[in-house]
Amino acid sequence: MNEVFTKSMARNIYFGGSLFFVLIFLALTFHTIKTIPELDNRAALTEQVKHGKEVWENNNCIGCHTLLGEGAYFAPELGNVYQRYGESREAIKAFIQFRPAEGIPGRRSMPQFNLTDEELDAVVEFLVYSSQINTQNWPPNIQG
């Protein structure tokens, strides 16, 4: 880089450019927050769903699963598990409930979390709520 492009020009690009894009980002964030009520299924955010999110977090489910594609890639996507399980809350509940405590020889297995009935219902409702968020048609198919 020769003398035409000076250090102070580079500095101005840094400060000016960064500030400009920070402001645009904040503006887009503001707009997003105003428009997401149409997409984020907040009408379904009952106390039970909120509790379900806590159960989800307290057991570190994201440490194996993805939710809307984010998380670990060790176990299936759960953002559409409700649809994958034929919209059966009971099937999801039973799956979590009856995991063998000692695992399955040679295979990956979900731990037995010893959740109470009330916690099970809550986490299932949380997954149902998650499955109805408008994700722009992601994932590509039911397998997640």
Partner: protein, 459 residues
């Protein structure tokens, strides 16, 4: 070493290297669990191993960044560190808090850890990479504030250089953005939206400032190129990092319940995110070509050029591969993401910290500018072992990812059925992981057995 207070960096580097080794051991455990499903089950389930792997990474990199700052800020500021005592105190606070957290992960079920740390009162746990208890997060904030105060006072009271100011900006940004880890709304979309303000704006934002300034520092020291030239490059690199990286956050807002214009914003700006990394590569090679001296620490120069190249490959090229929305629609949440994550973190952040340690170590040990030839040769072997094996880990995971997309996302087979078909890739990844750990051990041996160069070597 010109200033005595720089010696405090050694503590930080030692902790960083120790935790790095721990991180890799847990990486090997997870890699094995991918193909040997009940390995260590239910003692260390996969989610625990992963949490330890990723959190150790974050903690040791933070130790590395702090150590780097303590090492270079006195030299840049041309004065002793504001308070060595504070630096030592914060070191022990951070190490004990970090160790207790990891022990907590390993000794009890996560739900129990959430209970004993009172997560119900201020729930922040159970989100990817931010799994640490709320109390640990508070500890991180306290350490970060004390650290920034210490380094900031040193900068303010001494000479201000572009390197130190940009490093400080990056560190302040790191601390401020971490505050979003305390925001955990019940609304999943909002939760995810602002979770990325920590995760993305760290690694594809302010951490790039830290990386670029550390790289610039090592290049100034090892090549003797004029600061005016380096400063200009540095401004341009960090400008491009923020100009592309801030709106590049949009590539995480494609499928999480956010408006669809993010597909355009995210695709366009994140497609430009390789630019700052490409500039760093040109910068590093240019400076080394224009060098005014042949620095005796050849290993450090190798690391400096390596970090620029591998960061460009991992963050730049592998990021670009799956960043356009129509492609990301298929790759999102597959092994492709894991492939990119590994090479990007290794190239950009692991390697830059190893670069600084490599440069600073002989000074900290009182060996002068460089370690003895034998130690440097070992270190360069460790460079190649780690870097090449990480490239292979990335290639195997990319292979696994492509096959996963084909079988699961296009053919519609179930997740678990597909995972079994990917086993051969996972085995090869694990083998590459063993080579990586061998490289890391060699690095540690090189560092801990390093001697002062013999007289004729030093000249």
């Amino acid at each position: 070493m010109k200033y005595e207070s720089q010696a405090v960096a050694k503590l930080y580097f030692l902790a960083a290297l120790g935790l790095f080794l721990g991180q890799i051991i847990f990486g090997l455990i997870m890699g094995l669990q991918y193909v040997w499903g009940d390995f260590l089950f239910p003692l260390i389930p996969f989610n625990t191993a992963r949490m330890v792997h990723t959190n150790l990474l974050i903690v040791w990199l933070l130790f590395g960044f702090m150590g780097s700052a303590y090492y270079l800020i006195p030299e840049e500021s041309q004065r002793e560190l504001y308070s060595v005592k504070l630096a030592k105190l914060l070191f022990w606070v951070f190490l004990v808090a970090g160790a207790l957290t990891i022990v907590g992960y390993l000794l009890m079920p996560y739900a129990r850890l959430a209970e004993v740390t009172g997560n119900a009162y201020f729930p922040t746990m159970g989100r990817e990479f931010l799994e640490m208890p709320t109390i640990t997060k508070v500890g991180i904030v306290i350490v970060a504030l004390g650290f920034i105060f210490n380094v900031g006072m040193t900068v303010l009271m001494g000479r201000k250089t572009v390197v130190s100011v940009i490093l400080l900006t990056g560190l302040v940004g790191l601390a401020l953005l971490f505050l979003f880890s305390f925001y955990n709304p019940s609304n999943l979309v909002l939760d995810k939206y602002f979770w990325w303000w920590v995760v993305h704006l760290w690694v594809e934002g302010v951490w790039e400032l830290i990386m670029a300034s550390l790289l610039a520092y090592v290049l100034i020291k090892t090549t003797g190129v004029d600061r005016e030239v380096v400063d200009k490059w540095l401004y341009l690199i960090v400008a491009m990092a923020l100009i592309t990286g801030i709106l590049g956050t949009g590539h995480h807002y494609f499928w999480i319940g956010t408006p669809n214009y993010w597909q355009w914003v995210g695709s366009v700006f994140s497609a430009l995110e390789p630019i700052p990394f490409f500039l760093m590569t040109i910068f590093a090679f240019n400076m080394v070509n224009k060098r005014r001296r042949d620095h005796p620490n050849k290993a450090a120069v190798l690391w400096a050029m390596g970090t620029a190249v591998v960061a460009f490959l991992g963050a730049g090229v592998w990021g670009f591969l799956h960043t356009l929305a129509p492609i990301n629609y298929y790759t999102h949440g597959t092994q492709i993401t894991a492939a990119h994550g590994h090479l990007a973190f290794y190239g950009a952040y692991v390697m830059i910290v190893l670069t600084i340690i490599s440069y600073a170590w002989p000074h900290l040990k009182g060996h002068g500018d460089a370690n003895d030839e034998r130690s440097q040769v070992m270190e360069m072997w460790s460079f190649w072992l780690m870097s090449v094996s990480m490239v292979f880990i990335t290639l195997f995971l990319t292979g696994a990812g492509i096959l996963q997309i084909w079988l699961q996302r296009i053919d519609g087979q179930t997740f678990m059925a597909v995972q079994e078909k990917l086993a051969v890739f996972y085995w090869m990844r694990e083998a590459a992981g063993l080579v990586f750990v061998a490289g890391l051990i060699l690095y540690l041996v090189a560092m801990f057995t390093a001697k002062k160069p013999a007289l004729e070597e030093a000249s």
